[in-house]
Symmetry: C2
């Protein structure tokens, strides 16, 4: 029997419908909408698409959203000074610097910029203080993608407590916060990575398997316990025909899409997993839509916290 597909778009729409009245209530109370400043450096086409999506979603849902663009040649100091201005701005409750930054800024640039964002405006949840509060199970704002996965599980009626959860990938942005969020909901959590021995064996112990490594089709059927829930966070833009032909059979919709566009967004989870898993998030249309809507929720939360703290 094929796995139940978890429709991220429908759940994102549901969350959006819930958040909207709260945004309007904030605007009425504060006399201004919650404000989001997005900083985009350089010309990475994927980043431009993501930023456009985020701006559109913010604008359509009652947020003020301002884009600050810097050329690829901008220095780290220039970028930090834009962040500083947003830190001081009364109209902005959330700040997001789109990753990745141009290589020319240096290997440490991203970390230094994230550190420079005022913790209370850190709507991505990347600031060390945000991360520490997440570990201590009193998050103000948690990273969007893993928070979105929790919403997806809970709203799909998939129990987390006392389940074995395995997270493949240990990034600061997804893997580690994902593990902590599952742990705080009483899952027994294992984190796997490139140095894990017998990865398929470990993964197969999972009732909930989350993959976030960005390797197209890496999670094959032998990684999955029959009936398990599989959450695919990986999204890789594949332009290489051989990979697409390895993963999708001739005449399939995905192949046709690739033939038409010359590229395809592919998850970590191999298509054959649909025959083993009990529930599965598709790519696209699974976790992705949640990430965008969590940004709305996080910006609103940052705005509300700022207003409360001012009231004290």
């Amino acid at each position: 029997m094929a796995a139940r597909l978890l429709n991220g778009q429908a759940i994102a729409d549901q969350i959006r419908a819930e958040v909207r009245p709260a945004i309007d209530a904030f605007t009425a109370r504060a006399g201004r909408p919650p404000g989001l400043g997005i900083v985009l450096v350089g010309d990475d086409p994927a980043s431009a698409i993501y930023v456009r999506l985020k701006l559109k979603s913010a604008g359509e849902n009652g947020l003020r959203a301002d884009l600050e663009r810097l050329p690829a040649s901008a220095s780290l100091a220039e970028l930090v000074s834009v962040v500083d201005r947003l830190n001081r701005s009364d109209a902005h409750d959330g700040i997001l610097v789109q990753s990745p930054l141009p290589d020319a800024m240096g290997p440490d640039a991203e970390r230094r910029v994230f550190d420079a964002i005022a913790a209370e405006k850190d709507v991505d949840g990347f600031h060390p203080t945000s991360v520490g509060r997440l570990v201590q199970n009193r998050p103000t704002i948690a990273a969007g993608t893993p928070s979105g996965v929790i919403e997806l599980l809970e709203r799909s009626g998939i129990g987390i407590a006392s389940q074995r959860a395995v997270v493949i990938g240990r990034s600061d942005i997804v893997g580690k916060p994902m593990a902590l969020l599952l742990l705080h909901r009483n899952a027994t959590v294992t984190i796997c990575h490139s140095r894990t021995t017998d990865l398929a064996v470990v993964a197969r112990q999972a009732d909930i398997l989350v993959s976030a490594i960005g390797r197209p089709g890496f999670v094959t059927a032998d990684f999955v316990k029959p009936g398990a829930t599989v959450i695919d966070v990986g999204t890789t833009h594949v332009t290489d025909r051989a990979t697409v032909e390895r993963l999708y059979i001739a005449g399939s919709v995905r192949r046709e899409t690739f033939n038409r566009r010359g590229s395809l967004v592919v998850g970590d989870v191999h298509p054959e997993v649909v025959d083993v898993a009990g529930a599965l998030t598709p790519v696209p249309g699974g976790v992705g839509p949640l990430t965008v809507v969590m940004l709305l929720k996080n910006t609103l939360r940052a705005a509300e916290l700022r207003l409360e703290n001012r009231g004290r």
Copy 2:
């Protein structure tokens, strides 16, 4: 064959011998020793013993260590004002507020006091910023007990990379930072807790099993894969004869100690595990001595970082 016993005291002595010249070098460079302020509230006898140990160890190893005592009746505001004074003190590089605080201070008191300690003086590693930096694998200062366990493993020649590690307990002070430190050394890490199903089965997958729950003798032989390394972080002061008689046979040294003193410090690991494990930390004399020496190391590190930052 009985497990190899990992001698925490010998390793602590080795670390102390390495740290001492660095402490003296700091004192020569800065014109003052690294300074530690310890705050003790109330009359808890165990806390008094721990604080005395820490003060003695600091004093003997070239640190300045000052004790600030507050009565059990002190308010949270009074405690925070002592912390504030130490935050501003030039002579103090590290601040430690001994846990637990009196119940009368309220359930949230500990968290609020730890938050009030300046992050750069947080030698316990409990501040959210310290924890966030630990998650991001760029710790300035990590919690003493889990850091001590890493030292113990590494200096005992026990490999961590690619091993399966299972941590029982998910406290902010031991369980969670322990899991992160093992993860960053490339172990495949599972965190278990009171809501874990089939705990013994999960524990038995571990090459390295760390227990930190404070339940005397909870980890029995069936929790342990033959040859595994077992780290016992639990220390419970047992005064109840039945527990001691359940764990230790008549005529054993431990029973005799209990008979003489009327109490016994007992770990989470059942004595029978010595016949299954490959290596094992005793209680007492295993992890405990490391915790104390890590405080020296953390205070020195905090002092060095303050000096560096001032030099900029």
